[in-house]
């Protein structure tokens, strides 16, 4: 079960790469045609920027994400003994190394896991969650996060966060250049039939440059929604006690306080939607509704 999940995550990673590559190529073709009058120059520039930026984000992801969310790292078990010990227990039974542990000072209860792989992973909980949950519930929540780590979900989400922020970066570069940079063209358009293709590419690229960031975040959200159910179930399997997580999710449902500081790119990482928007489930949700998750858990472990 767990190995199938890891394989599925590896396939998903390739799919994400492919989708993001298409978006980038479209944006690049616009960039090239508009500013350099050369399709390939634009695509190459867009890809180079994206690759460099993605690699930097990927390898720095933990510290970037933690910084964006105002998290502080715990140095020893003394800082929060039960939290530390529970994570120790769960990583032992999940057979992964101990992740770095962070606390976010925020009264709203929430938690997330991030990193590249189990060797480079981190788990963060808000102080609100830490105070609100008893040991059993804390165990449930953390087991959910540890399964994100063990299933390599963290890699999928880190890559998609990195790629979509690269796309956002390129689009904002284009947006700025569009205002200040008058494109150089040597002539009126050559009026052979390549002109039509150029025009189509140009229009498609322009559309992608405008809605690219949106598509990027849609892909990211769709991936994240699916993942939560699986992490719930495998987390409950880890502790052999689904009730802990069920109780914890119920407590999360009751809390309506949104987090003080939510960064859009990492909203999808949390166990529950940090913005606490209550609306009909739709394309833009990063999380499936909590009551559906509770129901799914109850059904699985009946």
């Amino acid at each position: 079960m767990i190995y199938e999940q890891i394989d599925r995550n590896k396939r998903k990673t390739y799919l994400i790469f492919f989708i993001f590559f298409l978006i980038l190529a479209a944006i690049g073709s616009f960039l090239g045609l508009y500013f350099f009058d050369n399709l390939y120059t634009g695509i190459v520039i867009a890809l180079i920027i994206a690759i460099v930026y993605t690699l930097i984000t990927y390898f720095q992801s933990t510290s970037i994400v933690m910084q964006m969310n105002g998290a502080r790292k715990l140095n020893s078990a003394k800082d929060a003994p039960d939290l530390w010990h529970i994570i120790e227990d769960l990583s032992m039974v999940a057979d992964i190394p101990l992740p770095d542990i962070y606390i976010i000072d925020d009264p709203s209860p929430n938690a997330f896991a991030t990193g590249r792989d189990p060797q480079h992973s981190a788990v963060a909980v808000t102080s609100g969650l830490y105070k609100m949950m008893d040991r059993e519930e804390l165990e449930g929540v953390l087991a959910h996060e540890i399964s994100h780590v063990r299933n390599y979900d963290i890699r999928v989400s880190t890559i998609s966060v990195a790629l979509s922020s690269a796309i956002i970066l390129i689009c904002s570069i284009i947006g700025n250049a569009y205002r200040w940079w008058i494109p150089m063209r040597d002539d009126d358009r050559n009026n052979n039939n390549s002109g039509v293709i150029r025009l189509v590419l140009w229009v498609v690229g322009l559309i992608f440059a405008i809605i690219g960031p949106l598509i990027a975040s849609l892909v990211q959200m769709a991936i994240s929604r699916n993942r939560e159910y699986l992490a719930d179930v495998s987390g409950a399997e880890l502790t052999r006690n689904p009730q802990g997580l069920i109780n914890a999710l119920e407590k999360l449902e009751q809390s309506t306080k949104p987090m003080k500081r939510v960064d859009d790119a990492s909203a999808a990482l949390y166990i529950d939607d940090p913005t606490k928007k209550k609306h009909f489930s739709g394309l833009f949700d990063t999380h499936p509704p909590l009551d559906k998750r509770i129901e799914a858990l109850k059904k699985t472990f009946e």
Binding site: I86, L90, M92, V93
Partner: protein, 182 residues
Amino acid sequence: MNTIIIIVVIVVLIGAYAGMYNSLVKYRNRAREFSSQIDVQLKRRTDLIPNLVETVKGYATHEKETLAHVVELRNSVTSANSLQDKVDADNELTGALRQIFALAENYPDLKANQEFSQLMEELSNTENKVSYARQAYNSQVQAYDTAIQTFPRNIIAGIHGFKEMNFLQIPDVDKEAPKVKF
């Protein structure tokens, strides 16, 4: 031509044999690693108990019997030989410790004592670790047993004398609150 085929077949067979043998060794070592993990945690737990007893003694002088019982159970954990015996003794100890934790409710000073609450956290932490290690041990034993019983590895297991391992028998942990007699 024929000799080449024969050589290839022999090499493949040896390779498969070695691969299967190594995987059995790996399974067995993993199970052993977890069993030693249980042992480590049990040791840690019994090491914490004298401190707990000393701390409680200072506050709850009338509870000599409960404390003596805990010490007795602790000694039976350390003196037990097989892993199953140790785990059994430890289960009893868990019950006795719960009694001490519940008893703290009657002694507000004790409950407020920093050292006592630290010990309580350490003890319940180790208790959880023991139970997770048992869980991990059991699933590893299951993987190992399946490996030595299924074809074709059962042949190799037979030749090299890989023996079945036993699950640890554990009574269902009751989540009920401990009962305290007054």
